[in-house]
């Protein structure tokens, strides 16, 4: 009946599954172990075949959908009286099941190529490498180029990065469903913000450099032996450390103890680009002046560690590059102070990027 606002009080800190307890550390270790087996061994291959799936990656895709759906049900039971969450989580799960699992699964049967329609460069970084591009049918190559270079920035200008990070992206979708019980574990300390600033832009520079190298490689650099070798090694280093360790093993593995958006907040190069675009776009969190009681629900339940309360206390509507527009701050606010909106187009200047702006002087 009520279409907004948290319905009922949460018992977050009274649940041993939602705090740093031995069992959440054990859960974290289990997830890390699973990703290590998946990425670095073939022990999951026989399991995949036993359930009649082509290979371990299809098994992973299927498990991904299952955990997301279970997490999605949990999420909507906890916060589901909000229309925004209902729509968003439904779209998330459908995109993942249809574009992230079923389509890539069935396309090879129809003579097509396995292709993930919901991922773009630089998150799916090899889609921009000439070797990959040349191997795609022309319409997929065109889609990936237009999707990365036109669609992504245009939608981010219009609606903020949330169109991707909170509605489409598979990583974000897992974070907001399976990872939702731990969103309060995200640190909102100034130190965590300082780390994020450097780490996410370092990964962005890395992928820009790697893409450049791969382009040179694809357009003739291959002929030079040492260059081709360097390109191959750089690609391996990125794939191992960023593609596997940071996005999978760490990114998902630490959900129960450090919160569900460690990858998105600190390392995802797609989020970095979307964030920069978002700052120039229309999206913002509007603050209703002088109504905030500083309770801290918004800051606590922000999965990106943004100190939303500090802005609310300063009566300052704002756009933060890291904000994925999940809508939780507006949802848990007991005074209706916050509202996500696509405002008029204006350049947003971030006066108070620090996590603790009222004492930032």
């Amino acid at each position: 009946m009520y279409a907004q606002g948290q319905d009922g009080l949460m018992n977050t800190y009274r649940s041993p599954w939602r705090n740093r307890t031995p069992r959440t550390y054990a859960l974290s270790a289990t997830i890390i172990g699973f990703y290590c087996l998946l990425y670095f061994t073939d022990v999951l291959e026989p399991v995949a075949q036993a359930v009649k799936l082509q290979n371990k990656w299809y098994l992973y895709g299927a498990l991904y959908c299952v955990f997301m759906t279970i997490g999605g049900i949990y999420m909507l039971r906890t916060h589901g009286n909000s229309r925004y969450h209902k729509l968003r989580i439904t779209v998330n799960i459908l995109v993942q099941i249809v574009l992230g699992f079923t389509l890539p699964f069935v396309m090879p049967f129809f003579g097509g190529k396995e292709f993930y329609w919901s991922y773009f460069w630089p998150l799916k970084y090899d889609y921009f490498f000439p070797d990959t591009l040349w191997g795609l049918p022309w319409y997929m190559a065109l889609y990936t180029l237009l999707g990365s270079l036109v669609l992504t920035p245009v939608l981010a200008l219009a609606f903020g990065k949330r169109w991707y990070c909170s509605w489409v992206c598979g990583c974000g979708a897992l974070a907001n469903t399976f990872g939702d019980p731990w969103r309060h574990m995200t640190s909102s300390s100034t130190a965590s913000w300082r780390f994020e600033k450097y780490s996410i832009h370092a990964v962005l520079l890395f992928i820009l450099g790697l893409t450049g190298i791969m382009l040179v490689d694809g357009f003739g650099g291959k002929q030079i032996g040492w260059f081709h070798e360097l390109a191959g090694q750089t690609k391996w280093v990125y794939g191992f450390f960023v593609g596997s360790v940071l996005s999978g093993v760490i990114g998902t593995g630490v959900y129960p103890v450090l919160g569900p958006r460690i990858w998105c907040r600190n390392f995802c190069p797609m989020a970095a680009i979307l964030g920069i675009t978002q700052k120039a776009g229309r999206f913002r969190i509007a603050v209703k002046p002088d109504m905030c009681i500083s309770c801290g629900n918004c800051t606590t339940y922000c999965e990106m560690g943004i100190d939303v309360r500090a802005y609310a206390q300063q009566n300052e509507s704002f756009t933060r590059a890291s904000c994925v527009g999940c809508g939780m701050c507006a949802h848990v606010c007991p005074r209706g102070v916050l509202k996500l909106e696509n405002g008029a187009l204006e350049l947003n200047t971030d006066k108070a990027a620090s996590g603790q702006l009222s004492i930032d002087f």
Binding site: M1, Y2, A3, Q4, G5, Q6, D7, G8, L9, M10, N11, T12, Y13, R14, S15, P16, N19, T21, N81, S82, R83, Y84, L87, H184, S189, T190, A286, K288, P289, D290, M291, C292, I293, S294, C295, G296, N297, T299, T300, R309, A310, Q313, G327, A330, H331, P334, R335, G336, K339, L340, E341, Q356, S358, I359, F361
Partner: protein, 456 residues
């Protein structure tokens, strides 16, 4: 320059921050009996349920005192020596000298007319301070959440007095060896509703005892209150209206029920939430106080004593309608604290109170109020509407001689600044009802406001 601030809350901390911004070298001392850290008192209910940790309710990082060189004293102030310019402390601690003093010691629970003596019965308390929270958590949950209690929770016990509102209350659950099953909450204000809500969140079906014909008459009309009471009843809350409290029953030092004019209500935990009063008795005659206990201040927040200012809940200021009384709101405490900082630094300041507004959430029902509601002015009329559709909401527009003077809105979110602008523009009731959707602050995808024609 020695600046001393009594109180570590919204008023005191905002004053300290603003003084420090301009004067890096002044000595600033914050005296607080209740807590080591500045926290949001309005968030106590979420700590109780486990939705927030203590640290979550602290707007500033804990190193702020060290980083900004604020001296912190965890003790009860017991008096002022305005001649020697010293704050007296309990526990035989050395008095703290000041050049300029800000009293921002907030509110305390209203003394209970029907009962006295916390020592007599375990299981009776309030829901205003950190110490009350600790007591109520022990009664209902057996203790704090996994996030723990506040740091140095007992640091003030060495320097406090018997009558302090920051005393820990005796816990019936510990003596009985069983958690509370039947919670009774006395008093139908916002704190009472919160105390009921947290008991409900713990799986209990609390008794809600209200003296008046409906609860929170200060803010709600009978129709609105009935509308919310129906929601509470759906949640299993037992609302008892028109119950005058006569006393508490007890046996073996444990509370067993509430005596009312309509018979006894059994209870093994009683929260008395009949309002708050300025926390100022300790000042005695050192500064002038009004009949509510508020410290009388002029428009520069100056008290009757030289170099002593007051801000926040404990200060009695002049309201927009000319009345002198305390304003017990979060945002007024913050604004007064910031203004007091200027006053402490010697600026000429004027405190001007704007139109009244407030908001809250009563269970899952959003509430916004703006302008003059519940003042019962001459010629006052009201238009009341209920929205019955995808969203259920109520609208009460208060008007006088064709001009809107106030709004009381339930079930949706509104931007009070728009409502106040309309009041200042002297809009007609018909005009505001037609434009009400423009003041909406609902989240995205919430169906637009739709009021059935002829529904008035």
């Amino acid at each position: 320059m020695d600046i001393v601030i009594i109180g570590n809350g919204a008023a005191g901390m905002n004053a300290a921050l603003d003084v420090r911004k301009r004067h890096p070298d002044w000595s600033i001392t914050l005296i607080s009996e209740e807590s080591d850290h500045f926290f949001s008192r309005t968030a106590l209910m979420w700590i109780h349920s486990g939705q927030l940790s203590h640290a979550d309710t602290e707007p500033l990082e804990r190193d702020v005192y060290a980083r900004l060189n604020f001296r912190r004293v965890r003790a009860r102030a017991t008096g002022l020596d305005t001649t020697a310019k010293k704050v007296l402390l309990a526990g035989g601690l050395e008095p703290v000298p000041y050049d300029r003093l800000l009293v921002a010691c907030g509110s305390r629970p209203r003394p209970t007319p029907f009962w006295s003596g916390y020592g007599e019965l375990a299981g009776v308390g309030h829901f205003v301070t950190h110490q009350d929270l600790a007591w109520y958590e022990k009664e209902v949950h057996g203790g704090p959440s996994l996030a723990g209690g506040p740091p140095n929770a007992e640091a003030h016990l060495a320097a406090t007095t018997e009558d302090s509102p920051y005393q820990f209350r005796p816990v019936a659950a510990e003596k009985r060896g069983r958690l509370a099953k039947e919670v009774a909450v006395i008093g139908g204000g916002l704190i009472g509703i919160e105390a009921v809500e947290v008991a409900h969140a713990a799986g209990l079906h609390p008794h809600f005892l209200i003296r008046e014909e409906w609860f929170w008459p200060m803010a709600l009309s009978k129709a609105e209150s009935t509308w919310i009471a129906a929601r509470m009843a759906e949640h299993g809350v037992q609302v008892h209206l028109e119950h005058e409290i006569e006393g508490l029953n007890g046996a073996d030092g444990l509370v067993t029920g509430v005596k009312t004019n309509r018979g006894d209500i059994p209870a093994d935990c009683v929260v008395i939430a009949i309002g708050v009063v300025p926390n100022t008795e300790w000042l005695g005659d050192a500064v002038e106080r009004d009949k509510f206990g508020g410290i009388v201040v002029d428009e520069g927040l100056r008290t009757s004593a030289e170099g002593v200012f007051a801000a926040g809940d404990c200060a009695s200021v002049r309201w927009f309608n000319g009345v002198q009384r305390p304003e017990q709101l979060w945002y007024t405490a913050r604004d007064q604290g910031k203004l007091a900082a200027c006053a402490l630094m010697g600026d000429a300041v004027t405190y001007k109170r704007g139109s009244f507004y407030n908001s809250a959430k009563l269970f899952d029902i959003e509430w916004t109020q703006a302008g003059l509601v519940g003042f019962d002015l001459e010629d006052q009329e009201e238009t009341y509407l209920e929205e019955q559709g995808a969203v259920r909401s109520t609208i009460r527009v208060v008007h006088r001689r064709g001009e809107v003077i106030g709004f009381n809105l339930l079930g949706r979110r509104y931007d009070h600044t728009v409502l106040i602008r309309w009041i200042n523009e002297r809009r007609s009731p018909d005009w505001v009802l037609e434009h009400l959707h423009e003041a909406s602050f609902d989240t995205e995808f919430v169906p637009a406001l739709s009021i059935a024609q002829g529904g008035r």
